[in-house]
């Protein structure tokens, strides 16, 4: 790590934290070249899904944001004389346009529920990239099955979206074979061994990812599968600027908070109208009417959803 000449140079008690390499990108050029190929792909109305996986705290979200910023046009080439088919250019130097970085609110989905909404928004606004962050689904049972069926649906219906989807997963194994067989995943980035200065990633083509997945199914220590397949590229990425990092943390924590709160209420055994209707095998309207009739008060309320004590079930069961 020599010559901290990034534009976001930040002095912190005499220590400088590097945020851009000398060529103007926060990650290695080989990765930029491969992202360019994905941009060309979606321009040709082909699906493109970039998977970023790795353990907790390895910098997955940071890398996702960097890549999304790049696709969104935040790092234009200074020369800007590149043709439609860029080649890996060792001399290329990139600029930085802060106005073109992604808006977390619009282009970052925390969990499967938000994803189709954000994808729709990006399509309407002609934004070229959307991030799916697993944070919103991190504690939900059955979310993984839903994720796979959602991915299949989204890519089958909206091939012509012209949007690159960047998806963060704790493990590649989350994806089922149908997603791989349909060739939606084009690039896989595995983050590992982050330190104070930079994060590390290994890049795999879809072809090599299939081998990684195959090996994972055989091994006891699943992560070890990455060391059995040679990556196409290896590289580093730097941290986000402080303000942007704070904004991301805030946004990310909000997603997790919502999920945690719902889980907390479910853990206490509280039930919504829908839960009760399911258990009593009656319609939601019937449950609502009976609860109103009996004037049973809710014990908690979160985001328009009323939660009732489990004992309400017994009293409603008498009405059956």
């Amino acid at each position: 790590m020599e010559g901290n000449q990034g534009k976001f140079e930040d002095t912190n008690e005499g220590k400088r934290k590097r945020l851009l390499y000398n060529y103007g990108l926060p990650f290695s050029k080989e990765l930029a070249y491969n992202i360019d190929q994905q941009i060309l792909r979606v321009k040709n109305k082909k699906a493109s899904l970039i998977i970023v996986d790795g353990g907790i705290g390895e910098g997955k979200t940071t890398l996702k944001v960097h890549i999304a910023d790049y696709i969104n046009g935040a790092y234009p080439l200074i020369s800007e004389i590149k043709g439609d088919y860029p080649e890996l250019d060792e001399e290329a130097v990139y600029g930085y346009d802060e106005t073109k970085t992604i808006k977390f609110k619009n282009q970052m989905a925390m969990g499967g529920e938000e994803f189709p909404k954000k994808l729709g928004f990006c399509f309407e606004e002609k934004l070229p990239v959307v991030i799916y962050d697993e944070a919103g689904d991190f504690a939900r049972r059955g979310a993984l099955t839903k994720l796979n069926s959602m991915l299949n649906g989204v890519f089958e219906k909206y091939r012509g979206l012209r949007i690159v989807v960047i998806m963060g997963l704790p493990s590649l194994r989350t994806l089922d074979s149908s997603v791989m067989d349909k060739c939606m995943v084009r690039v896989g980035l595995h983050c590992e061994g982050r330190n104070d200065l930079y994060g590390n990633f290994k890049g795999y083509s879809a072809y090599r990812l299939n081998y990684v997945l195959h090996k994972m199914n055989k091994l006891i220590v699943k992560v070890k599968a990455y060391s059995f397949t040679v990556p196409n590229i290896r590289g580093h990425f730097l941290d986000l600027p402080e303000l942007r990092s704070e904004a991301l943390d805030k946004f990310s924590t909000l997603g997790k908070k919502n999920s945690l709160r719902v889980n907390e209420l479910k853990f206490k055994g509280f039930l919504t109208y829908q839960d009760m209707a399911k258990q009593l095998r009656r319609s939601v309207n019937w449950v609502k009417a009976k609860v109103n009739e009996k004037k049973i008060p809710e014990v908690d309320k979160y985001k328009n959803a009323k939660y009732f004590d489990r004992s309400v079930l017994d009293s409603l069961a008498e009405e059956l």
């Binding site: 080989e30 491969n34 190929q37 890996l88 060739c183 083509s205 072809y207 196409n232 590229i233």
Partner: protein, 128 residues
């Protein structure tokens, strides 16, 4: 040589038989080249090389006329009918080799080379 009395040859499509005949003729020319080089120390006789090239020329004549401009054919004809030196025969053989490469009869370097750092190129190469 191709055995025309063999049952297997009779049932083989004519196209495949011609392909083998051309390759055999080409191999004969290469053998004559080797012989010429081996005997260079005591004699400089180009008759064997010339006649072998002539045989290959006759085998490929139609294709050559379809694929090459008159100028190239003129050089080839000179090499076949009235060669003044071994060099002219060598040039003629090169022209026929070019044809055989173009029609993919001797083209075996089909493997596509790509930069392994280019993930999309690798995906495409493997049909993904």
């Amino acid at each position: 040589m191709v055995d025309f009395n063999n049952d297997t040859t009779v049932t083989t499509p004519a196209l495949d038989v011609v392909k083998i005949l051309i390759l055999q003729r080409r191999n004969d020319v290469i053998e004559a080249f080797e012989h010429y080089n081996k005997s260079l120390d005591f004699e400089e006789d180009i008759s064997l090389v010339r006649s072998r090239l002539y045989g290959l020329y006759l085998e490929t004549k139609g294709m050559l006329e379809n694929n090459f401009p008159d100028e190239t054919l003129k050089t080839l004809r000179e090499a076949v009918y009235s060669p003044k030196s071994f060099k002219e025969i060598d040039e003629g053989f090169n022209i026929i080799n070019m044809l055989l490469y173009e029609i993919k009869l001797i083209k075996i370097d089909n493997k596509k080379n790509f930069d392994s750092r280019d993930m999309e190129a690798e995906n495409k190469h493997h049909g993904i």
